[in-house]
């Protein structure tokens, strides 16, 4: 072992110098060749960050209807006491853990869209998540709504980072027909570590595009392409974002780390239009309070740090954050101090470009669908608003229909 290790280290030292020089050349060459980089802030410079609150966030304990006695009747152990609610008005208010978000709300940077859902709600985590990501409640689509945006937005084809999922798995929302979106959970580990990798890269650059394989596989071309993108992307991204410096203090949570990287990518002007992160799990069938309170607090604190960071770099008006969760939860609590899968729930649109306030209808707890909140705003109205008013793209084709827009964006 010792001998091998030593030799490995020696070789790594010997080769990594060469590799770095080669990489720098590559990056410089791309920069000089005029890889289009966005200029001054403006519509072309805008970014959407999508946050998936996965598992089904209980909307009623997130945006609390503290003025409604029915809420307290149906939630004998789980209801947030009226005195704890961070009141927006006499009817609703934020969960007490969401102090940072309330501060932003008071500054007019948070839009709360209530009662968002879709017709014939599905109660499966997986199908409902798919519906939210593909924006297709009635059909099965293999592309996501933001993936379809990436396909038709006319973004530079040679940019590997038009969209970035700050996650390990590529979410369906970023699946497109033409654009490969890298999934990068963290810059640590996003890089080839060994001299052998460098050797392989040199040796196999030609092989990944060679189609002379003596077998067919539905995944072969995909493997070759991702291998190529992973090798180039992991060489380039750390260098492209290295110049971004920040004094922001993010919470030491997974979401805090993800948003720190999202701010770095958004602030490095590398042409990224769409970012994705996820947070959870909100699937609180049992002992909901401790879990959801923690998750909402982490969400709120991380968002606060994220927008401080963005604002310090003049990016807070460039980055719109949109949250979603596959469903809200049952209005009445179950026997294990938790809640089962429900239907409509609120979502947030956050950022300097937002006209803050309450949108949509407050949940009606007496007119329910089998004990679930009925939706009053179609989720595709929110998407249409983001596409048309934020990204400046027509939404009809992407969403397979015309949906009314909300006056949420300045």
């Amino acid at each position: 072992m010792t001998m091998t290790m030593k030799r490995g280290r020696f070789l790594l030292g010997a080769l990594s110098g060469l590799t770095v020089v080669a990489n720098m050349d590559h990056v410089l060459a791309r920069a000089l060749a005029g890889t289009p980089l966005p200029g001054l802030p403006g519509a072309s410079d805008r970014v959407v960050l999508l946050i998936n609150l996965q598992g089904g966030n209980d909307g009623l304990n997130c945006v609390v209807p503290h003025g409604n006695p029915q809420y307290y009747q149906l939630r004998p152990t789980l209801a947030v006491p009226q005195s704890d609610v961070l009141a927006i008005d006499a009817n609703v208010g934020f969960n007490p853990q969401m102090r940072a978000l309330k501060v932003m709300y008071d500054k007019g940077e948070v839009a709360v869209v209530q009662g968002v859902g879709y017709p014939n709600p599905d109660h499966s985590h997986f199908r409902s998540t798919e519906i939210w990501q593909t924006a297709a409640p009635e059909t099965y689509e293999h592309t996501g709504w933001l993936g379809r945006y990436l396909d038709e937005a006319g973004l530079p084809k040679n940019n590997l980072f038009n969209g970035v999922a700050v996650a390990q798995v590529l979410p369906e929302v970023l699946v497109s027909n033409q654009v490969d979106v890298p999934s990068i959970a963290s810059l640590n580990g996003y890089g080839l570590l060994s001299d052998r990798n460098a050797t392989a890269k040199r040796t196999y650059t030609e092989l990944v595009t060679d189609h002379g394989f003596p077998f067919q596989s539905p995944y072969l071309a995909h493997v070759a392409e991702i291998e190529d993108h992973a090798q180039r992307g992991s060489e380039e991204l750390p260098k492209l974002v290295a110049g971004y410096k920040t004094d922001a203090t993010y919470p030491a949570t997974p979401l805090g780390r993800s948003l720190a990287l999202a701010a770095q990518i958004a602030g490095s002007n590398i042409g990224t239009k769409v970012l994705y992160v996820q947070h959870g799990s909100f699937d609180t069938h049992v002992s909901q309070k401790a879990t959801q309170d923690r998750l909402l607090g982490e969400f709120s604190d991380a968002i606060g740090a994220f927008y401080d960071d963005l604002a310090a770099h003049g990016n807070d008006t460039r980055v719109l954050t949109l949250t979603f969760s596959e469903f809200g939860r049952r209005i009445a609590e179950n026997g294990s101090r938790g809640t089962d899968h429900g239907e409509a729930s609120p979502l947030f649109m956050i950022g300097g470009g937002v006209k803050g306030g309450l949108y949509g209808q407050m949940p009606d707890l007496s007119d329910t669908n089998m004990g679930n909140v009925r939706y009053s705003t179609d989720f595709r109205s929110v998407y249409a608003t983001v596409l048309e008013r934020w990204l400046g793209r027509p939404s009809q084709t992407i969403l397979a229909g015309n949906f009314s827009q909300l006056p949420v964006l300045a």
Binding site: S124, Y190, N197, L207, H211, Q216, H229, A230
Partner: protein, 482 residues
């Protein structure tokens, strides 16, 4: 770009798809069988199975030898935790510290279990038993530590899957419904008649047995009532039925009415055609190719039905079938990280799992006993993101440096001739599934191109070059495909 599952192109003859394969048999097909019915094979194992007939090879995997002499699992922390009682009299700070220490110990136990299982996958004489255990772990998911799923319950569930690896799916579903780890993970331990908890009821149907579209929301609620009172004894950590919290009223479930309990629900589920088709699709997707045609699913559902949900005879049909050995199925799956890492050990003929492998699996997106959610790990192209692929390449860069790599019988015997050596590497590791250009590149590498020490392959540089060549061969696209 594309994510998810992709079906192979072209047409399949459904009438003969599940008939026994009677075509030519060779090492390449034997290696295919071992990737699917196991975790890959060493060159020696490929040769051994290649010398059998396809029928005998499948039968040897299904009627596997006794595995009781394999290394026993490590001792792990028990539920209920005896130190729970010691919490009494502590202040909040002490309790928090004690809880943290307990959690840390549990995480260490899970790591030990991961190493134990990976070594078992590598060394077992019954690879299909471990492969089915792995399949069932991804199917009937349970994640460790959260919700009180302590290491001994994780181990007990893992042994349940192993005991039923080729057993009866109906019986296994009842056993899973009473399994303490599952009762905690999907909250049925908390399911009581005053306010039923629907979590297990829903996932039992959606993800374990029927699939979406075969039941209604009302069925979910009725089935949840039937499972009330199926809980665990908090003193022993074992399954118990609590008649006081069980709802013994009349339920209507999938158009049947009666005073059902959990066993009745499972019985009714297993009378549904949808259940046969669900298992057929799951097994075809895992062992043959993703997104199988509805007609093929129907054919295999008939096999499962005729065999009354017995896995051994059903898998015997599948692993000997025309479709299994068709061009459509060959290299048509993406290896999961676990298949990838255990297979890499097999390719290099390593006797034990290299230190740090569980941690490397985390970077590739698959942590044993920690599926990301109740649906298990998403497969197909979901395994092929930029960062996960880099993690795979970094792993093989490490494993070829393992001290034991060149002790392997076949690596030590590779000739000191770049041309012949390149053929041996590509044959042993890839069963020749490489384009002609790959041989050219490998010969150039073995003769000194791209290395720090130039010069033709020789006794002096053999060790380093052989490791490098093994790396390069495993870095080829075909090696990602199962």
């Amino acid at each position: 770009m594309a994510a998810g599952y992709v079906r192979p192109a072209g047409q399949l003859d459904f009438t003969t798809a599940l008939s026994p394969y009677a075509g030519p048999w060779n090492d390449r097909l034997a290696a295919h069988l071992m990737r699917r019915a196991g975790f890959g094979a060493t060159p020696d194992e490929v040769a051994r199975y290649g010398a059998m007939s396809p029928h005998d090879a499948a039968e040897a995997l299904i009627h596997f030898p006794d595995t009781s002499r394999l290394a026993p699992p490590p001792g792990v922390m028990a539920y209920p935790d005896p130190r729970r009682i010691a919490f009494k009299g502590m202040d909040d700070m002490q309790k928090r510290d004690a809880a943290r220490a307990r959690r840390k110990e549990a995480i260490g136990d899970i790591l030990a279990l991961q190493e134990w299982w990976l070594n078992r996958m590598l060394t077992t004489p019954a690879p299909l038993q471990e492969k089915m255990t792995f399949f069932l772990h991804g199917h009937f998911t349970t994640a460790a530590i959260q919700k009180g799923v302590w290491p001994n319950l994780v181990l007990a569930q893992n042994q349940l899957f192993r005991q039923n690896a080729l057993g009866n799916l109906h019986d296994l579903t009842i056993a899973v419904s009473k399994d303490p780890a599952m009762l905690l993970y999907l909250d049925n331990a908390e399911n009581n008649k005053s306010h039923p908890n629907e979590n297990y009821s829903r996932e039992l149907m959606e993800l374990f047995t029927l699939g979406l579209g075969s039941y209604t929301e009302e069925d979910v609620r009725q089935s949840a009532r039937a499972f009330t009172g199926w809980t665990i004894d908090r003193r022993t950590g074992e399954f118990t039925f609590n008649p006081r919290t069980h709802d013994d009223g009349t339920k209507t479930f999938l158009s049947r009415t009666g005073n059902f309990d959990g066993t009745d629900i499972v019985d009714i589920i297993y009378q549904q055609r949808a259940c046969e088709r669900f298992w057929a699709k799951s097994l075809l997707s895992a062992f043959v190719y993703n997104d199988p045609e509805p007609e093929l699913v129907d054919e295999f559902a008939n096999v499962i039905s005729r065999n009354h949900f017995e896995l051994a005879p059903s898998m015997s049909v599948l692993l000997r079938s025309n479709v299994f050995y068709s061009q459509r199925a060959y290299r048509a799956l993406v290896k999961s990280p676990v298949e990838f890492v255990v297979g890499a050990h097999k390719s290099l003929d390593l006797a034990t799992i290299v230190e740090g492998t569980p941690q490397a699996l985390r970077a590739m997106g698959q942590i044993l006993f920690y599926p990301p959610n109740v649906a298990g790990w998403p497969g197909g192209a979901n395994w092929l993101t930029s960062q996960m692929l880099i993690a795979r390449e970094n792993f093989i860069a490490r494993i070829v440096n393992a001290q034991t790599a060149t002790q392997s019988s076949w690596l030590a015997a590779v000739p000191l001739d770049a041309k012949r050596a390149s053929r041996e590497f590509i044959a042993a590791i890839l069963q020749n599934d490489a384009p002609s250009q790959a041989y050219v590149q490998l010969i150039a590498y073995l003769d000194g191109a791209g290395t720090s020490a130039l010069g033709a392959l020789s006794v002096e540089n053999y060790d380093e070059r052989a490791r490098g060549a093994a790396y390069l061969t495993m870095a080829m696209p075909a090696y990602q495909l199962g």
